[in-house]
Amino acid sequence: MSDLNTTMVNEYRSNFLKEVEANVEEGRWVKMCMQCGVCSGSCPLGPAWEHPPQEIFMMIRAGKRDEVLKSESMWMCTSCYNCIVRCPRELPITHIMHGLANYAHRLGLAPKMNPTRRFAKIFWDNIVKSGRVNEIELSLRLYFMDGFKNGVEKAWSMKDIGLGMLKARRLNPLGFVTHKGCKDTKGIHRMLKKAREIEDRRKGFAA
């Protein structure tokens, strides 16, 4: 992944704004921010962002590539879409934040231990596997991502919730085995592989 990062650094030199416009989902909107700060004030997890969206936009324009891409900030996005509906300039801020996080993750610059980044990866792998979410597998993978011992502790702390869900028949304890998913999983896998290829080609990610 760091190879891809080097490629991008070389390609865009100091122009981080251009890089974002070319490679980040909805990145072409970044230049349209008018710095009012309504997004930052509207974010439910606003105080948890080291650099709230308004600052992220400013940092992109100021060429602060590493500071943006290595930031934990975008990973605080809960996808609540409050910033989108309130932005007076109608910037798709949520998508830009998602896009930046995804780009940072692709380049290998995103903070390795960020729990949302790790969960997001587990989630995607989970749905791709069968085409549909396998909830029990998802939860247990999440709990056990930091090793067996931590996993047991984590699972123990969540046992009441799990039991509650089991009792309410909203969790399948045998999901590992019985989860069926889509019929055309092979087709889905081919389709997603192709999609990734096309996107990488378009963005110049492919070698």
Binding site: L17, K31, M32, M34, Q35, Q54, E55, M58, M59, R61, A62, R89
Partner: protein, 745 residues
């Protein structure tokens, strides 16, 4: 006045008949008001009621009409009898609508109404329908001073409306600042790209317009007279002078860019690569003439990076530089950044701003600049320093990332947005021989109009040296009737606004020449035919009237008596209020017409527990606010008797001493806000009144009365909730200090 015949009419409509004993009111008018004809009518403002009054005028010889109905501000068209004097008695808004509709309140409400009938009849005896001034000026030519976009537009608008125009331009060519621009900010959809200025077309239109006579290299070296009859000396550079007569003047003397050499910290003057906005226009024009891109002034190298510094020497709270925002500069910098981006998108253009201000469709232009890749960075620039290679380093405080020592290096060109300084001419509030803190004589600007008025050679200024003109209620109006300012001399503005402004001022000038020819007043007493006269025998030549007239309407004649230039007069009556010997009056407004109303009120004795409070209310704001309070049924004290006055400036202190002497318990004055943010329709009237009232304490002391017996208040037309509160608070105060000892004398 042997042939005086008063007709008094009492309306019973709008609830007046139910709430009041109109028969008793009619009797009051007849017995106490000495009305010759008295009639009640169930619906006075309808055609039948109006015809009834007209019939009395035509057949019975009624020449004073007293109408006891609604406010003078209502039904003005129905009750319009131009051949006779009309007194309106406000029984509706300020009696029945401002009093509770209860049985208990009936007695006091009736007393109020009866007093107002007495007052109306008393006024009617003291006024006549005014005869127009004979010495009117009928010249309808319009002089426009300044041949920039504002002046040219004003000239064209006036000419196209059918008026002859003289256009005087100081330089050798028409065009002004507009001719020195490469392009202008867009002024119509889609507001996305710089547009050609169109100055050639405008100049051609002016030059080809047969009604416009252009004087180039010319200035106005003497201006005298009044609306409809100004006399102006136009002197050309060669020294030739010709005298022309005009009816009105539009002053469009424009602006000068703020002197950027006062900003050495931003590098101006140190490096040719730091320019102001006009400097950038010059570079753009020169490059366009050669068909080349702009190049770095210092060494002709390619420009790769440009930084625009907004608010350079502007919005400066310290007062070292301009304190205000010039309004156009954000759009102008965006336009100039596009000069680069449109030619080569790879040129970095950064606008460093603290607050971007792009009102109206400027917002679309802002988006367009963003789309084109102009970078906007919120930061306060602290310095511009030269680097070795001819480029500059811009130091700034990044206000979003809160980095106090942010920098931008490798900048080839720095553009300072410095702002507009009005060409207002001489500040007449500073004496000609004034000195500064170092005892050096103050340097005065060159006069634009060279007025021969005793008040000084140019129009008065307000804030920051811009010419005085009320921004909402009466833009373009100056305190010199018939002279209108437009464009950046009036307030900072861009081309589009200047063109609107020019149109407005041209229309005001046209309105004025037409009014002047008929002897009619301009705003705000539009159409008033009265004008001030004075009793020469009584005048002590104290000059108070000449000094205090806000409009410079009064000069002195050879014998040092006041000489009224009626055409300049706005009929505010400030002279009347100023006159210590009370010799100034209008046919329809005088010391006597108000004084006799004050005296007509029935003042109950000390033991009645019915105080009387006189309220002198400005007819422009306070009186309408009182009416609206009534419309909204806000109750206020029944002990108040209100008399509308043209302006608090017309309030003569004799009215106050008369009122207190005749047993009133208190006097309130309600006028407009004064000061820099004034709302006085006669600009200085309420301020002068406040000054005079500050001196009334001595009078009160001499009468052995409490200072609270007189209260001067500022109100606005929107104060309909506040005005009754102010009245009730004052009534409570009077209750507290007790009844006046002067009753029954």
């Amino acid at each position: 006045m042997a042939d005086m015949k008063i007709g008094a009419y009492v309306c019973q409509g709008c609830g007046l008949g139910e709430r009041l004993d109109t028969k008793a009111l009619a009797q009051v008018a007849q017995k106490e008001g000495k009305a010759h004809i008295v009639r009640e009518h169930e619906f006075l403002c309808n055609a039948q009621g109006v015809a009834m009054i007209q019939k009395d005028i035509d057949e019975e010889g009624v020449n004073r009409v007293v109408i006891g109905a609604c406010s003078r501000r209502a039904k003005a068209e129905a009750f319009h009898f131009p051949t006779v004097a009309v007194s309106r008695v406000n029984l509706r808004e300020q009696v029945i609508w401002s009093q509770p509709a209860t049985d208990e309140a009936r007695e006091l409400t009736q007393e109020m109404a009866e007093d107002y009938m007495r007052m109306g009849c008393a006024e009617a005896k003291k006024v006549v329908a005014p005869t127009p001034n004979a010495a009117v000026g009928t010249n309808k030519r319009i002089l426009v001073v300044g041949g920039g976009v504002t002046g040219m537009t004003a000239a064209l608008e006036a000419a196209r409306a059918g008026y002859d125009v003289l256009l005087v331009e100081k330089t050798a060519a028409l065009g002004g600042v507009m001719a020195k621009l490469f392009k202008r900010v867009p002024f119509r959809e889609p507001y996305s790209d710089p547009q050609p200025t169109g100055v050639e077309d405008l100049v051609a239109a002016v030059t080809n317009e047969p009604r416009i006579t252009v004087f180039l290299h010319a200035t106005t070296t003497r201006t005298s007279g009044a609306p409809g009859q100004f006399s102006v000396d136009i002197t050309t550079e060669s020294g030739q002078t010709q005298t022309e007569n005009v009816g009105a003047i539009v002053m469009a003397s424009g602006f000068t860019p703020y002197d950027a050499s006062r900003l050495p910290e931003l590098g101006y003057g140190k490096s040719p690569n730091v320019v102001d906005q006009s400097g950038l226009e010059a570079l753009a024009l020169a490059a366009a003439a050669k068909g080349e891109p702009m190049r770095r002034p210092s060494d002709g190298r390619e420009i790769k990076s440009v930084v625009f510094v907004q608010c350079a020497g502007q919005r400066d709270a310290s007062g070292t530089h301009l304190r205000y925002c010039s309004g156009h500069c954000c759009n102008t910098s965006m336009k100039q950044a596009m000069y680069f981006k449109d030619q080569n998108p790879d040129i970095d253009t950064v606008v460093l701003f603290t607050d971007l201000r792009t009102p109206g469709n400027g917002e679309d232009f802002y988006r367009s600049a963003q789309k084109k890749g102009v970078t906007f960075t919120k930061g306060k620039v602290s310095g511009v320093e030269a680097a070795g290679d001819g480029s500059a380093v811009v130091k700034f405080h990044d206000l979003i990332l809160d980095e106090p020592a942010a920098t931008m290096a490798g900048v080839d060109l720095v553009v300072l947005a410095t702002g507009q300084v009005p060409n207002s001419g001489v500040n007449i509030d500073i004496p000609a021989d004034a000195t500064d803190v170092d005892d050096k004589p103050v340097e005065h600007a060159v006069s634009v109009l060279n007025l021969t008025y005793r008040q000084g050679p140019d129009v008065p200024q307000l804030k920051y040296g811009f010419t005085d003109s009320h921004f909402i209620c009466f833009p373009y109006e100056t305190r010199r009737t018939g002279i209108y300012t437009a464009g950046p001399v009036r307030r900072p503005m861009d081309i589009a606004q200047a063109m609107d402004d020019a149109t407005g001022a041209a229309l005001k000038a046209i309105q004025e020449v037409e009014n002047a020819a008929l002897g009619r007043a301009a705003h705000p007493r539009s159409g008033d035919l009265s004008f001030p006269t004075f009793r020469r025998e009584g005048c002590t030549q104290c000059k108070r009237c000449t000094v205090e007239c806000p409009f410079g309407a009064i000069d002195e004649d050879e014998q040092r008596y006041p000489q009224f230039n009626e055409g300049r007069c706005r009929r505010c009556g400030t002279c009347m209020g100023a006159c210590p010997v009370r010799v100034i009056s209008f046919e329809n407004y005088s010391i006597d017409s108000v004084g006799s109303q004050i005296k007509a009120v029935d003042v109950p004795d000390e033991f009645s527990e019915k105080p009387r409070i006189l309220l002198l209310a400005c007819e422009n704001d306070a009186y309408p606010a009182l009416d609206m309070a009534g419309v909204n049924r806000r109750v206020s004290s029944a002990f108040v008797r209100t008399i509308p006055v043209r302006c608090l400036g017309s309030v003569n202190t004799i009215w106050i001493t008369d009122a207190l002497n005749s047993g009133y318990d208190g006097v309130m004055l309600m006028g407009c806000k004064h000061g820099d943010e004034y709302q006085c329709h006669f600009v200085k009237g309420s301020e002068l009144a406040a000054y005079r009232m500050s001196k009334i304490d001595d009078t009160l002391k001499n009468l052995n009365l409490e200072a609270d017996r007189v209260r001067n208040l500022e109100v606005a037309i929107t104060d309909m909730e506040r005005v009754p509160q102010l009245i009730n608070d004052y009534a409570a105060k009077i209750q507290e200090i007790g009844m006046s000892p002067f009753k029954g004398f």
